[in-house]
Symmetry: C2
Subunit: 204 residues, 2 copies
């Protein structure tokens, strides 16, 4: 059975939990608390030298890290990853957008406000995070004007990757009511078969 | 012919220029100065709503953005992207590592010091960028202890992606002499056939 080393509040981890649930693949969830150094132990660093969750342990004992690389691995050969060469690259385009232009703002603001708590240093930089997050949400809103999904005619791992932190953006103080296309897309993703909430921890 | 919209000092753009050169694919380079708003014009935003170079225009008129998604598109079916499912995902793992844990530190420090210039606000945050950059370089150094390349037995787009900003890290103030495995790997990449420097602008 697959084993996922993960931290429940993490949207990066939730991406993987959500795709595994959508695909009906059972897995063992092993929680590692990033607030208590549990991803910086020698045991954890042997699995991912970069010291971050999520990490997927395959049945043959190999490890894979980076949430979006794990999504790509799991989605190969399924409808969550298109066969067409351009469409596959376009899915990756939105996943790299997520990790570079969305997560460092939307997810970090949420982590500071909702998970770790605000310090004076974080408070001084929160506006920068809000500005970057709203810019990313604006790009998403415009893209979804005339499209139900980010790439093609069905839900792909581009949608899964972007859903993870967007659906909890309000926990970081973002006002999603300004983004009606994004709002309808969030409902569309959540209505798909096999959907699970970010708080679900009983998978095996 | 392919057209690449790019900014010459950008390592993200250089990744694409380097892979195209390695593959012997001719292309037209169209420079867009990110310091003068040339990636925020209506014309540019129609190509990439996220307003960033590089953008690749295909011969059929479609556009692809995000440097690592472009690398993946160009490398499909070539030796720069493995056929094996796990190896492909592992290549992506290092590309997501590059965009999340390396570029925001190594590339941003270089941009501030070498391209845009240091302001008081940037000076106050430079140490954070150096710390993050050295952490990423340390992960690379350890990975290369007993490996010639990041994934498998030859140069892939994981190496191309990581080479782009690592080989100019000294321009951001990083001391690469601390990282001997990284140093030998940089020489290995630069010795590959079809190598071009980041400053080359005559391609077509």
């Amino acid at each position: 059975m697959l084993t996922l080393y993960d931290y429940l509040p993490s949207g990066n981890g939730y991406k993987v939990r959500l795709l595994l649930s959508r695909l009906g693949i059972p897995f063992k969830l092993v929680e590692r608390d990033i607030q208590h150094g549990e991803t910086r132990t020698p045991e954890f660093l042997a699995m991912n030298p970069n010291g971050r969750i999520p990490v997927l342990r395959l049945e043959d004992g190999r490890y894979l890290s980076e949430s979006d690389a794990i999504l790509f691995y799991l989605a190969e050969g399924t409808p969550f990853l298109p066969e067409d060469r351009f469409a596959r690259a376009d899915v990756l385009r939105w996943m790299f957008f997520e990790q570079y232009s969305h997560e460092p703002y939307v997810a970090v603001a949420r982590a500071w406000v909702h998970v770790f708590g605000i310090t004076p240093e974080r408070a001084a930089r929160l506006q920068e995070k809000m500005d970057g997050g709203y810019a990313a949400l604006g790009v998403m809103e415009d893209h979804l004007v005339a499209r139900p999904w980010f790439v093609g005619e069905r839900c792909t791992i581009a949608d899964i990757a972007l859903y993870a932190y967007t659906h909890v953006a309000h926990e970081g103080g973002f006002d999603l009511s300004r983004f009606s296309n994004v709002g309808r897309w969030l409902e569309r993703v959540a209505a798909e078969p096999g959907h699970v909430p970010i708080t679900k921890r009983d998978f095996a």
